[in-house]
């Protein structure tokens, strides 16, 4: 739920990066963190295991500027992708305003992508949201790998509602900001409707 503080003239929106384990959710956030100027960002918090797998979430607050006199701030979260962290994923989806699904382009991970997308739909439903109604963007990550499936193939299997879709290589930043902008726009447009 977007938190609008009329007294402090601030809008806070929560965007969650979802996707299967090792698809590059944290790498997306890391790139955004590295490339944003210091005044516009807070600390990147990573609750990860010793082997750098996300344990609970990563968190990055981002100030985008002012809309109609309101300071616009986005809180970016990632979920832990590994299947057995489902309870944690549910918690992080609470109060979500927009979702980015990061899919791993490698052929061998297609099944994991589909499973994770179904998991997203189910967990959103448990929190009282419908993926159909939530601002949502899709990212095909790891396009640089030789085993990457054709984007058309991936789109056929993962497209949910004609959402904005981007090809990305999160390691070098390709498509990272495009994805973020797309979902942020959808979130703000949703605000307009309310």
């Amino acid at each position: 739920m977007t938190f609008i503080n009329y007294a402090a003239r601030e809008i806070n929106c929560k965007i969650v990066y979802y996707g299967p384990g090792l698809c590059g959710k944290t790498t997306n956030l890391q790139w955004i963190y590295d490339k944003t100027n210091p005044q516009a960002k807070g600390k990147l918090i990573s609750l990860a295991t010793e082997t750098d797998r996300t344990l609970f979430f990563d968190f990055l607050p981002l100030d985008l500027g002012t809309v109609r006199g309101f300071k616009t701030r986005f809180h970016l979260y990632t979920v832990p992708g590994q299947v057995f962290y489902d309870a944690s994923r549910k918690l992080i989806l609470k109060g979500v305003d927009g979702v980015v699904f990061v899919a791993d382009s490698q052929e061998a991970r297609m099944e994991a992508n589909i499973e994770s997308l179904q998991n997203l739909e189910k967990n959103l439903k448990e929190q009282g949201y419908e993926l159909k109604a939530v601002p949502y963007a899709l990212q095909f990550n790891k396009r640089d790998l030789p085993t990457a499936l054709a984007p058309d193939d991936m789109y056929r299997q993962l497209n949910f509602k004609g959402e904005p879709t981007f090809e990305a290589v999160a390691m070098n930043g390709t498509g990272v900001f495009d994805t973020l902008k797309a979902v942020a726009k959808l979130v703000l447009t949703e605000l307009k409707k309310k």
């Binding site: 938190f3 607050p61 006199g69 609470k94 109060g95």
Partner: protein, 158 residues
């Protein structure tokens, strides 16, 4: 959030900070958005504090449900120098008190209890107000109703 209640909340937090002799008093919603705070925030990353607190409460909430409890309404973390007291107010917001050895857990608990009751009343009024506004549709103009695509684009112009 409305000006009048926001001020009330800030006043309550300020009183709590003074009465409990604590360093920082902080109010966060369950989604990790900071609502208000009082105390010496220098050197404290408020946004991270808010987000981690909410994560902590959410995880503890999950634990409570697992063992058949409704919630754990108080969490306490003891450090070498500073301690954190976290409590749920009206099941919707999280009150965080950071204190050192100039105060004590007993004092903090006592003062938090009193402040929680005040906050609960304020939030009740807030809730009623926003419900009333929702009932009288049209009278309340959201500042975002007229947001244009250009406004949104301008955010990403850099």
């Amino acid at each position: 959030m409305y000006e009048e209640e926001y001020q009330q909340i800030k006043d309550t937090l300020q009183r709590l900070q003074v009465d409990s002799n604590s360093k920082i008093v902080f109010l966060v919603d369950k989604n990790g958005q900071q609502i208000a705070c009082h105390g010496d925030m220098r050197g404290v990353d408020a946004t991270s504090l808010a987000s981690l607190t909410a994560g902590n409460v959410a995880a503890t909430d999950g634990l409570a449900k697992l063992i058949g409890e409704k919630e754990f309404s108080i969490l306490f973390h003891e450090g070498e120098r500073d301690n954190i007291h976290i409590s749920l107010v009206a099941q919707r917001v999280i009150l965080v008190v950071i204190f050192d050895d100039r105060s004590s857990l007993g004092l903090v608990r006592l003062r938090v209890k009193k402040a929680s009751q005040e906050l609960e009343r304020t939030f009740e009024v807030l809730l009623k107000k926003s419900e009333a506004e929702r009932g009288s549709l049209g009278r309340f103009d959201s500042p975002f109703a007229e947001i244009t695509d250009e406004d949104i684009d301008s955010l990403f112009s850099e």
